[in-house]
Symmetry: C2
Subunit: 353 residues, 2 copies
DNA sequence: CTGTTAGCGCCTTCAG
DNA sequence: CTGAAGGCGCTAACAG
């Protein structure tokens, strides 16, 4: 028989009671020098490690949190997940992770499973495809923080970015540089972020007395090619495209290249959400950048302040983080270009170790 | 007092013993129709959910596995993590995840914590920066499967891709199209994958009687700019670059654009590892593509076959998965180009729903 | 078909 | 300063 050693094995070997071992481990109560040494020796020779499952049962604290994201393929979600897990590590918590594939049922199932595992809290990027089921009374005892998208009619804490303002930043920049016909390319209207970005786009155009022109869908390259082809064929075709997230931006870039449309000469391009390869595209992409790490860290911090400090301030904190416009070349505002590129190069020099 | 209901609450309400509730839940033993109904009613009215922590302690089975990856920012790792978690879900297992940032100590700490949480097995993409500490006797009772990189001197199962052959594919393609001076751009020689890819490169050149020329490091854009500048300044500068992973590829693309070198006219480019934006780059990038999802799924399957079927076949399965050359335009082999692009478009049409 | 007992590994409480 | 008892929530084994 070769089972892992338990506390009683250590106690026996050290010639003490289990409580003494427990005390030595926790350091909570004084134990005599001599006894303590014997316990440590026993622990070392047996290679004893406490069983956290037993601890969790006994203490009614699992020291685990649950993280649910739509997927990990989109770097935005992946970075959120990683950041939360780093914060959790700082608090000696473990992270159970699951992907929900934008399906509320799947999301609910995963959350329920985590609840049965007694997670102490959740960080969730809610699924968009319907009505969230993360709201029932089951969740009333367990703090939930949502990232990127709030859950409507819930009192969960949430952290989002300035989606609307970000759009205004990007669109105003195009307007200031003379564009009068600016098209908005959305994905799904079911997405909170897309809706907010659309609103920002609309308001910016309205203030400038310009007419909005928008195309939702376009989630595949093929659709986008079709859409853009027809858009550009119309007379008074837009001179600038504003893309509401990185999938749409990628599809637009692909379509424009496929249709041999020159960027920014024929069409200027601005996207929402920066990504790894945005600055090696040709031309480098102008984007509204979101503070992804801050977003996730902030969310995790809120959760842990509830968990650790027993933070009993009213639920439903709603935090909004600022975004910034990163000027590269796809927007065609040439003057600023060189400056921006120089800054970027300087940055990369600074960051090199 | 408002604690979650436990099994005894259900039992009391239904007027039965806890064992009856347990039996109704597991379905393992027959329970009378009538009693069963009463139990289900009680469960429903109390909204009872079994406590998996208690179950885990009692059964000595946590139904959890641990996943450790260097980070989730690199989509390769993120996709591996997601795939493993999807397979775990299929087996009703939960996944505890942690990132190790290529640091063996951090990796070991995370693994230890998971062991204390009684995970039943591990899927790990080992950290590269030194000697792995995931090997001690602590891990002898818990199956470990490594992905992408094996741990040397260990008897863990592992799944990798044809790194060497993949390089030969990519490099031979360049050779066949007339390139005689092909430079290899590596990252760290500490990385198993890079070493294997370098070997493939070397052998391919050797067979063709060509002289290898290689540059390791270049992990930052700045370094890469400096390297490439000096490489291209030398006489008899290489006419083709072979990049050993996606970070290096990105840095090379950036540097070439920065230095205003035309691809593929002045320098042809082939990279190892495909990524989301590879086909919207200008020119679209020719790459050796790895079967990421297969890799992770295969690893997870091996782990679960050990966990579930009590698979006692000898440890140390070593599986190698095939890679493929995806011809786009950066390699400059124009003839094949159109065909490849057409295929890709056809594919995207097929995949559109 | 159903209930009782006991114990998974740990730590709070209470005695000594 | 140290130990014994008891219980966290669950289920295998053994009655009945």
């Amino acid at each position: 028989m070769n089972r892992p050693p338990r506390m009683s094995d250590v106690a026996k070997l050290a010639g003490v009671g289990t409580m003494t071992v427990s005390r030595v481990l926790s350091g909570s109560v004084k134990v005599s020098e001599e006894t303590s040494r014997r316990v440590f020796d026993a622990i070392a020779t047996l290679n004893y490690r406490p069983n956290e499952v037993a601890r969790a049962l006994r203490d009614q604290r699992s020291h685990q949190i649950g993280v649910i994201v739509p997927n990990l393929v989109d770097p935005f979600f992946a970075i959120c997940a990683q950041t939360v897990s780093v914060v959790a590590k700082e608090h000696a918590y473990s992270v159970i992770i699951a992907t929900a594939d934008e399906d509320p049922d799947s999301e609910y199932n995963e959350a329920s499973r985590m609840l049965r595992r007694q997670v102490e809290g959740f960080v969730i990027i809610p699924a968009a495809g319907g009505v969230s089921r993360i709201a029932g009374s089951e969740f009333s005892r367990t703090p939930v923080v949502t990232l990127d998208r709030p859950i409507e009619n819930s009192s969960f804490d949430s952290v989002v970015v300035e989606n609307k303002f970000g759009s205004q930043l990007g669109v105003n920049h195009l307007i200031q540089h003379g564009h009068r016909r600016i098209a908005f390319f959305g994905l799904s209207r079911n997405l909170y972020t897309i809706r907010a970005r659309f609103e920002g786009y609309r308001e910016a155009l309205k203030k400038a007395n310009l007419k909005p022109e928008f195309y939702f869908g376009n989630g595949t390259q093929t659709e986008m090619v079709a859409t853009i082809r027809s858009v550009l064929d119309s007379k008074n075709a837009p001179t600038a495209f504003y893309c509401s997230n990185n999938l749409i931006t990628r599809n637009a870039i692909h379509a424009l290249a496929y249709l041999k449309v020159r960027v920014p000469e024929s069409v200027a391009l601005v996207g929402f959400d920066d990504f790894e390869t945005a600055n090696i595209l040709n031309p480098p992409l102008t984007v509204v950048r979101q503070p992804i790490t801050d977003l996730a860290r902030m969310g995790a911090n809120i959760l842990f302040s509830r968990l650790l400090n027993n933070d009993r301030t009213e639920r439903g904190k709603h935090i909004v983080l600022p975004v910034e416009l990163v000027l590269r070349e796809s927007c065609g505002t040439h003057q600023k270009l060189l400056g921006a590129r120089k800054r970027e190069l300087a940055e990369s020099v600074l960051h090199a170790k």
